[in-house]
Each structure stands twice: as structure tokens, then as C-alpha cells.
Subunit: 443 residues, 2 copies
């Protein structure tokens, strides 16, 4: 097979066959298909697209590129949750322990911050001692023991995806919906989950801005995973502003621990956690429908049992027990900067992507995968998009410990928060839901 | 600068600035811009195109990537000739010595076979001892001494193009007209020629199939080179069948030496050499117009002086003098295969691209740049496209010495020569001419 011929084939808009896709994916994983040819092919796919069948072939070849975990030794329906990525998007930390309390095993394999978006692994590592690079055996043991485990993708789990994703990230070929679906599902199917709740972010702070594209992705995720006997519910949710009161690893963990302890906190963050959690409870057989799932979710959250469960999981993964009880004393930033309103009116916009890139500048995220992260870096919002403000009001506080590009970061934060005369349109959080019975628009 | 941002910019269809293109080209040449990002950018350019201005910026940055020869010590207007590549396309070997006889210095820097097309360097190397990897000093000395030198692109001459071309070749991004123009002109301008005649091949055997695209390329070549004080005449010529009676390195040299010796040979091959040569004679100040240039060309060709000049150049480049006088005894193939007509009618089609790929299979070309070439491998046509044939007539003879994929080659040759009831449409050889006064359609 001449790889250049396969590139030309896709360039002309023709489909690739099962054999060709298998050759490309396994060859790329082994190193026989060089990066420069794969990136040319990816760019041709960006412009020409792939058919539903080609997408599923990519998914199948990617799963076959590595090993597949078998969690059947753990009783119950294992349900994972995944988000396409946003700013301040921390629902996993709230949902996973609540679900574990309810008796639904949550085998959660997460990623790191990517571009302007945060990653669950970086957030967890802001807790002293928290270890995420679990072996398969450790992952399974902790999952069995606590009802949840937070792992990182091992080198054996879908190596094709690791390599492909790294290449897509640096070649502007991330936003190809069928390859996003294949990337997500290959990992979820290989990790051995039985069911999945997807949070498909739509808007300026996510990777997809167009609702139609998000709906297509959601439908693909539901349809393709069903073929692998993984039932999926996908929610389309708004990502036009940062989620919750904090963004940045340490500050976000703090926000979550407070909610898990008290059941109180940012209404939208709790509402989204509740909606996604209810889907997981239903898939896990713990509730008949979504409303009863939401009720059960609230009961557990209000009881504070989620906090104890999170501690249990964290300690099983090496976290210092005292760090969890006294978290506010653990992740203390050395520097702070406060942002005030220059005029009265409304906090019209909090641009999430700008906030995300400012966080990267501040050290909460990475320019390159080798960069280290400042776990104390972040921003805490005192006002939310849409709130009325008076001149001189404190809008937000940025915090960090390691001097890097904080000047650039602060200027980006400043620009990202727009005070104006008009309250911006308040878009509903939940936009659509897609499950085996089809897609339901929620707005 | 984040390279991925530049890729995304072009992906959205936005133009790149002078600084961005300079950064990309010099960075790529140095190795700071990795292949996998450049190939993604090239594929985005394939789909989005580049503006005329961007194309010229690519050209300028590419010229700046290496050193620029200064041939001003050699008196007269130096005129080079270049073809976009075809099958059996051997006019350089005929034209260059004729021009040198006329007193027009021809600084010819050529390439190797690419894909299904042949390359002048490979042809010359079928002559025992012929050395093409001349240093700049050797090149200039031989050019001064004989009136012509056949060189290969040195590592210092437009290194950006060497690297970029190799990458485009394996990523299906060769056929981007402005980058073809930038690739050709960067080398021609850096080699120090004062004028240029271009043979832009149109049809199945070339890289461009569409006449409009070829005309656009011709106009670009004329316009861009004028800005660098290089006057160019570009001819659009038909490449819907192999040119001349032989294809393959040794067989083509044999065909050319016969024509140079006797002035007799394939009418189309001589006609094309005459047309291109006349353009060069005019640019070199040896004729007032194209018709008088054609007359002068014929006079020299008929005199046999071109053969003596070719010998002189070849000997200056290390060729064995006896090998030129007894060329038919030098490049003797070990194996032969004859193709006969199965039915009577016409030789309707001789598909040049199939012939070209069959030559690669046979060892006359390369699958990969490291492959060695069998200089005796080729095909000699006894019948040309459009000729009437009778069942049993000899159509062509394939020849080679090193057993490789001759089975595949012979089957490709067989398929490429189609005998049918109808004579195919005979397309005129010269399709258009483009010079500083504009484009003239010749058909």
C-alpha cells in the first residue's frame, strides 16, 4: 500500500476501506505510517469529512490498537462520565463520589488540560499525594474497593488515540466530529465501562460552537457505543461562560469539596452535575427515570456522604487525609490580583475561551505537554455573567504562586470580563439530550 | 508564533503574512517547523489555495533559504529550459547542445524522475561516467567552457525547496499551482539564469490535466519571474501520450543522440524541441522572433553540430568518449518483451501515466528516493498513438536488465496500449504560449 495513494484518495473525497483504515491506524501506532503523512491525511479528512461507516472503522481500529480492560469481576453496571471539555468544568469531581455512594461503580479515566480547557487529572493532582497513574490492577482494585477510581490513560490503552490526538492537537485537526467521537469512545470502550454519560459542550468555551455539529456528535456517540454494547446518554450543554465560581485546578477542587460537604454552591454547577448524575444513576439501574435520578442525586449530595466518599477514593489513591479536611490551607497561592468594575451596569460577558487562555498564561494550563502546572493558579469569580454590578465592585480574584506570564494573563482576564449596560442573553444550561430513543431538544 | 495557529489561519481560508511565510519557510528549512505541521499546512493550502501575493512570498522566502549563484562572469544572456515533467519527455538533451552551438549559455539544473515522470539527471547518468553532482565552481567552469552544463540541485541551492518538495511528494500535495511555480522559479532564479523557457505539460501524462490550471501556472511563472528580472516564455504542450519513440533513461538518450547526429527522428519530439529552442534562441538574443529562431534551430540540428557539442559537454562532465560514439553498445538490456496487436484497427490510446508507472515497476524509475535505477530499462514504441495497426503487428518492445517487478510492468504496458476500431482524437502538440505580452492560445 502506498500511503500517499490513500491520502490522495481521501483528498478526492473518496471513502477509505476497512483494510485501509486498519492499515493506517495500526501502521501509525507502530510508527510505520509517519506523522507527516498522517497529518496530511487528517487535514484532508478535515476538508472532505468521513462517512459514518468510516468513522466506526476508525473507532474499531483504534480500540484494536491496544488492550481492552475487563471489569466484569466488579458487580453492577459500570457507568463513566465524559465531557468534551470546557472552562471551570469540574462536574466529574462532584458526580463520581455521589454515584459511588449510590452504588454505581464509576471507572473514570480522564485527561489533562488541553488548549484552553481544564483536565480532571490536573485538578486531582492539586491534592497532595493524589496519584492518577494507576496500573490496571490498581485501577480495578480501587474501583472495587471504593466504587470509583480516577485513572489516566495508560500507554496500553488505545495507543493509537494517544498518538493521533497529540498529532491532531498540533496540526489544527481536532475539530473533526467523527474523530472526536472515535477518540472518546475508543478509550471508554477499552476501559471496560458498561454505560456512559456524555457532556457535549456547545459554545465559545468548548471545542464545538455549533449546536447542529454538537447534535451530530451526540447522535454518533449514542449510536456507535450501542454497537459495542455501551449505552450512552449524551447531553448538549451550554459553554458560553465559565462553569461555576472558580477556574483553575486548586480553586476548582476547593469549590467541589465545599459543594460535596455542604450540598450548597453555584446553582448552575450543581444543576449540571445533577442532570448528568441522574443520567448515570438511571443507566446504573439506581433510578427508574431522570426525575427520580435527580432526586436521589440531591439526597446524597445534601447528606454530605459524597465528601466522605471522595476522601475515601482520594486516600485510596495516595492523597494525604489531612489535605482533604483542611484543603483551604493546602493550596494557598502566593500572589493575588483583584479585578473591579470600572462602571455600573451588568457583567455582560465572561468570555470563557479568553479566561481559559489566561489560565494557561497564568500557569494553570500548558502551552506544551511537557510544561508543569501551578496548581494554585486560577481565578475566583465574585460576579457571574449577567449579574448587575456597580462601579468599584469586585468582579474576580486571580491567584497564582509561580511567576510566569502573569502580565499577559491579567490583561487577558481583564479583557474577558466585559461590563456593559445590557444584561447578555441568558442561555439555558441544558440544550438537548440524546439517548437510544433519539434526540430531544430541551430549549 | 504558534505554528498550529498559522495552520488554523490557512484552514479558515485566511492569508498568511510575509513574516509568517518567512518564519514557516526558514523554520522548516532549519528543522524548527516539523514535517507533520508543514504537511498539514500544505494540505490546508491544497484545499484553500494561496493568493498571488502569498505565492510570491513563498517564492521569495524559498530563494532566501539558500545561496544564489552569480553567473555574470559568463558573457551573454543565460537561458535555461524547464519542463513540469512528462513521459518520454527528453527535449532538454536535444535543445541544450543546439543552444550552446548557437552561443546561448545554458545553465541547466535538472531533477530526477518523480512519480511516473522521468528526470534529466537519470537520463544523463545512463551514459557511463557522466557526473551531474557538480560543485558551483565546476558548474560555472563547464558552462563557460562548453556553453552548457547539466547540474543537480546542490544542498545549498534552495534547501527549502528540496525539503518541501520531498514532503509534498509523499503527502499528495504536489499539485498546487502556486507552489509548483515557486518551486520551479526558486531554483531557476537561485541558479542565476537570465531567462527561461518553460514547458508546461497538460494532460494525462503530466501533473496538470486541466488547460485552465496550466494557463494559470504559465501566467504566474511569467509574471513572478519578471519581478526577479528573469524573462520567461511558457509553452503549454500536450502530454496525453508519451513523447517520441522511447521512454526510459538509456533508450531516451539513444533516441536523442540519433536525432542530434542525423537531424532525423520522431516528428513531434523534434517539433517540440524546435518550438522550445526557438524561444530560448530569441531570449538569448540569437534570433529576432520565433520563426527565425525555429529556422536557426533546424539548421544547427541538421548540421550534426549538436551531437559534437553534446559529446563535448558530456566529456567535460566525465563521460567516456567512446560510450557516446558507440552508445548502442553501451546500454544493452539483458531482457526484452515484445507487445503485439491482438486485433486490427488503430492504436487508439497509449496512456502515458500507465506507461510511466510501468517504467517505475520495470526499474526505470523509483518507488522511493533511495531506490537505484536500471538505466537500460524502458520501452521502444514501434507504433504511436493514432497509427493504424494490423493484428500481429509489433507495437512496442520493453527492455530491462535487473529483474524486479517486470511482471507488473509488462501487464501495465499491455493495458496502457489500447487497440480499437477508432483513431483517437489527435490533439495538437502546442496548446498555448505565454510571454510578457500575454497569453496566446495556439489551438
Amino acid at each position: 500500500v502506498l500511503i500517499v495513494e490513500l491520502i490522495a484518495q481521501k483528498q478526492r473525497g473518496e471513502s477509505l476501506t476497512a483494510e485501509q483504515i486498519e492499515y493506517l491506524i495500526q501502521g501509525f501506532t507502530r510508527g510505520d505510517v509517519p506523522d507527516y503523512q498522517m497529518s496530511a491525511l487528517l487535514m484532508a479528512i478535515y476538508f472532505r469529512g468521513v462517512t459514518d461507516q468510516e468513522g466506526r472503522l476508525f473507532l474499531n481500529s483504534m480500540i484494536r490498537s491496544g488492550k481492552r480492560l475487563n471489569l466484569s469481576a466488579i458487580p453492577g453496571t459500570k457507568v463513566d462520565k465524559h465531557s468534551t471539555g470546557g472552562v471551570g468544568d469540574k462536574t466529574s469531581l462532584i458526580i463520581a463520589p455521589v454515584l459511588a455512594v449510590a452504588g454505581v461503580p464509576v471507572p473514570m479515566i480522564s485527561g489533562r488540560g488541553l488548549g484552553h480547557t481544564g483536565g480532571t487529572l490536573d485538578k486531582l493532582e492539586s491534592i497532595p499525594g493524589f496519584y492518577v497513574h494507576l496500573s490496571d490492577e490498581e485501577f480495578e482494585r480501587i474501583l472495587k474497593q471504593t466504587g470509583c477510581a480516577f485513572g489516566a490513560q495508560t500507554t496500553e490503552l488505545v495507543p493509537a488515540d494517544r498518538k493521533l490526538y497529540a498529532l491532531r492537537d498540533v496540526t489544527a485537526t481536532v475539530s473533526i466530529p467523527p474523530l472526536i467521537a472515535a477518540s472518546i469512545l475508543s478509550k471508554k470502550i477499552a476501559e471496560g465501562t458498561n454505560a456512559l454519560v456524555m457532556d457535549v459542550k456547545v459554545g465559545e468555551g468548548g471545542f464545538l460552537r455549533d449546536q447542529n455539529e454538537a447534535e451530530e456528535l451526540a447522535k454518533m456517540l449514542v449510536r456507535w457505543s450501542a454497537e459495542e454494547n455501551v449505552e450512552t446518554i449524551a447531553f448538549g450543554t451550554n459553554m458560553d461562560k465559565p462553569l461555576g465560581k472558580a477556574a483553575g485546578n486548586g480553586p476548582e477542587v476547593k469549590e467541589c469539596l465545599d459543594i460535596l460537604k455542604t450540598g450548597q454552591g453555584d446553582a448552575q454547577l450543581i444543576a449540571l452535575s445533577r442532570a448528568l448524575g441522574a443520567g448515570m444513576l438511571m443507566l446504573g439501574g439506581k433510578s427508574q427515570d431522570l426525575p427520580s435520578g435527580e432526586k436521589l442525586f440531591d439526597e446524597i449530595l445534601d447528606s454530605g456522604a459524597g465528601f466522605e466518599k471522595f476522601k475515601e477514593i482520594a486516600i485510596a489513591q495516595g492523597a494525604n487525609p489531612f489535605a482533604l479536611d483542611h484543603y483551604e490551607q493546602v493550596s494557598v497561592p502566593k500572589f493575588k490580583h483583584e479585578f473591579f468594575a470600572n462602571s455600573s451596569g451588568y457583567l455582560t460577558r465572561v468570555h470563557p475561551q479568553e479566561i481559559g487562555w489566561a489560565l494557561v498564561d497564568l500557569g494553570a494550563g500548558r502551552y506544551q505537554s511537557v510544561d508543569t502546572v501551578d496548581h494554585t493558579a486560577g481565578i475566583i469569580f465574585e460576579k457571574q455573567q449577567g449579574d448587575p454590578v456597580k462601579a468599584g465592585d469586585l468582579l474576580a480574584t486571580a491567584c497564582w504562586s509561580t511567576p510566569r506570564n502573569e502580565k499577559a494573563a491579567l490583561s487577558r482576564f481583564e479583557k474577558a470580563m466585559v461590563v456593559g449596560e445590557h444584561k447578555a442573553e441568558d442561555k439555558p444550561l441544558l440544550m438537548f439530550r440524546c439517548d437510544k430513543s433519539g434526540l430531544t431538544k430541551l430549549i
